[in-house]
């Protein structure tokens, strides 16, 4: 159940590319929820969809830079899976732009990614609660 009127963003991230404690500032313009994964390849399609079902207005997947995955190709697999789910969101009329994947070099880049995500949201209809 949504506890605030701020846009809610669920961030799935590889534990090797981000420690949420190091994110410079928590944006006051949204409600961020971080979900750590041992590798971004563990982000299954159903996890992404259920995040939307749980009330997220947008879902972001943060993966290691290409070529830097500890498990060689986990970030590439995550990229393909995210694209698959974006297509599914488009198919059901939910706007695939609500879901995005970013290669993350450092925690300092997170606020910009959040801003970029929020910028897409006004163009999308709110997810029905």
């Amino acid at each position: 159940m949504r506890t605030s009127s701020l846009p809610k963003i669920t961030v799935f991230h590889c534990a090797n590319c981000l420690d949420p404690v190091r994110v410079p500032m928590a944006s006051s313009a949204c409600d961020l929820k971080f979900v750590a994964l041992a590798c971004s390849s563990m982000v299954k399609d159903v996890f992404l969809l259920r995040a939307f079902e749980a009330g997220a207005d947008a879902v972001v997947v943060l993966v290691c830079p290409e070529g830097a995955c500890r498990y060689v190709e986990g970030n590439l697999r995550a990229k393909k899976r995210v694209q698959w789910v974006k297509d599914l969101l488009d198919e059901i009329g939910m706007d695939g732009r609500r879901l995005a994947l970013h290669n993350l070099a450092s925690a300092e880049a997170v606020p910009a990614i959040v801003d970029q995500t929020l910028a897409v949201l006004p163009q999308s209809e709110p997810v029905p609660a």
Binding site: L49, E53, L88, E91, M94, V127, P128
Partner: protein, 222 residues
């Protein structure tokens, strides 16, 4: 394996419109392997449908279950209690599974959630290719284990058409020429002499063209 693909969500949504409680029933065999109807796909489809229905202000309750095989009554029985709790079943099995369910549960509508497409193999990750037409009269020994009935666009039985380019089919350039593969294979096996035998036009009366087929194993009949 039998290869299938999920139907468009809009089509599924329309077929579910008359019902308020639906069991999404997966099959843990062929359709699981081709990522169309296993446990994961049941969960994804249920979630996608819930989101899609919310968009249009509709409400529908889903129950999710996957049985080992939907084409065998022994496994279908496990779904009995779940079927009884719902107004309809959305089956993610192949056409045989859907019909086996419908036969078992006469009072509950059974709807297909996938399109059954072909008998094929996993050629490489993410790519499934058709390898068998289920013609009922297998001639693979003659063709070195490569079926021209299924894999040649022209279904030629006595040699290549001559239109292939660099081992690729002239009709579908992204597909290997079946006859190129047959000749390479027979050459490697030292069995090129097999191609000297004339193969007469295929009789399709043992295939679906002769009507639905039956297989009776008398030693298993009770």
């Amino acid at each position: 394996m039998i290869v299938a693909e999920r139907k468009p969500v809009a089509e599924i949504k329309n077929s579910l419109a008359p019902y308020d409680k639906v069991l999404i029933l997966g099959c843990g065999t062929c359709v699981k392997t081709c990522f169309a109807g296993g446990e994961d796909e049941v969960a994804v489809l249920a979630s996608a449908l819930r989101l899609a229905l919310k968009q249009s202000g509709q409400q529908l309750r889903f129950e999710e279950l996957t049985v080992e095989r939907q084409c065998e009554d022994e496994f279908i029985q496990e779904a009995g209690p779940a079927v009884g709790r719902n107004a309809a079943v959305l089956s993610l099995a192949c056409g045989a599974g859907v019909q086996a369910l419908a036969r078992r549960f006469a009072a509950v509508p059974v709807l297909p959630g996938v399109n059954t497409t072909f008998i094929g193999v996993l050629e490489k990750p993410g790519l499934f290719t058709e390898e068998c037409a289920g013609c009922g009269d297998c001639q693979l020994a003659t063709f070195g284990g490569i079926c021209p009935f299924t894999r040649c666009a022209k279904k030629l039985l006595n040699g290549p058409c001559g239109g292939s380019r660099q081992g690729r089919c002239e009709v579908h350039p992204d597909t290997d020429c079946a006859w190129h593969l047959i000749i390479e294979r027979l050459n490697a096996l030292g069995q090129m002499d097999r191609l000297k035998t004339y193969v007469p036009p295929k009789s399709w009366n043992r295939s679906l063209a002769g009507g639905p087929r039956k297989l009776i194993r008398k030693d298993h009949v009770l």
